[in-house]
Subunit: 202 residues, 2 copies
DNA sequence: GTCTATATCCAGATAGAC
DNA sequence: GTCTATCTGGATATAGAC
């Protein structure tokens, strides 16, 4: 695709403009789902937010679910980036703390994003294969980090995800904007580390 | 209210019939949210399911959110009943296992019910004070059981809810209908019990 | 790429006859 | 208590002019 750039500069400029508008629309969409929730989201309201007629959005997105799909991909890309940037300590406990902090913070930041990425509450939406592939990358990255720390047991990894998803969902459901469950991260990690030590046969 | 029964039998019969129809409608509503999800639920479809015109439903429910509210109360009453029936063992670990099993089983049985009771994904719905009071009873009951087992620390109780909600949500999200996370309950309880022992100052 | 016009359908809710 | 009729507004999506 990149080789066309040199040959057709006009098309390239048009493409860039198109992408910029698309991004602008998606940013507005994020703001809307954050304010009103993912299930109250509508194309009409989105169009209003970007000063367009609802029909014009179809130049950028084939359907409402396509917008959801781009948001889904956005969110997963963001999470993947944070994982990639994470410097993993040599000390397993401190590394586990960092991973849990990263995930729970990401979750607590944005209820709508959490709902979109990790709960399946939107009636006819499921991510496209391309977007889902990013989610798989996120999962693999998390799994790889824990394997690197010497945690190779599948059930123990599942137990780990139980902890971080439990912390995340309780924080969002019972103390949105607060830190009641975020404060439990260190204790939860200590509990987990104590439990799985010596349990591995890598 | 009960004293009116003897004086006005006709009103009472009418009342009973009214309640029966209401129940029938709610049962149909449960079936619908289970099949299509809580967010795809509509009064028109509900009316169709019970062979009524949509407008007739307003004889029984003041609004769509009132239907949600009755479902919310239903679900919490069911959970409360199960807690009340639970025979709590003297052995703390075995009691904790039973509580976790009760809750996670309840959650895994019905994704829609879990969403309605524990996630807040329906745009303009929040439970009425009367319905919410039942949810509070459920929480108190759970808390009382754990206190009875010698767990009096607030943070440890929060950690407990993190575990059971994490098990529940992961089971529903990643292995609906299966037992991948249900199988982890005993291990999770063992981990928790080991961790909180000696941590209490009741 | 954006618009007007339109198609098609669905939603929640109220008024009033029977 | 159930119906018909109706209000009001929302939704996603397509066709075609400019």
């Amino acid at each position: 695709m990149a080789k066309k750039t040199a040959i057709e500069p006009r098309r390239d400029r048009r493409h860039a403009r198109h992408q910029a508008t698309k991004r602008e629309i998606l940013d507005a969409a994020w703001q809307m789902v954050r304010v009103a929730g993912v299930n109250a989201f509508s194309l009409r309201a989105l169009a209003r937010a970007v000063n367009m007629e609802p029909q014009s959005l179809y130049t950028y997105f084939a359907s409402k679910n396509s917008v959801y799909d781009h948001l889904f991909a956005d969110g997963n890309r963001e999470l993947l980036t944070r994982f990639d940037r994470l410097e993993v300590s040599d000390d397993p406990r401190s590394a586990l703390r960092a991973v849990a902090n990263l995930f729970v913070t990401f979750a607590a930041e944005d209820q709508a994003r959490y709902e979109l990425l990790f709960l399946r509450t939107i009636p006819n939406f499921e991510p496209s294969p391309e977007s889902y592939a990013i989610a798989v990358q996120v999962f693999s990255k998390g799994r790889a980090i824990l394997t690197g720390l010497g945690l190779c047991n599948d059930a123990d990894f599942d137990l780990w995800t139980v902890l971080v998803s439990g912390l995340s969902s309780q924080q969002l459901a019972n103390d949105p904007g607060g830190d009641r469950y975020v404060k439990l991260i260190d204790d939860a990690v200590a509990m987990f580390a104590e439990h799985v030590i010596g349990n591995q046969d890598c």
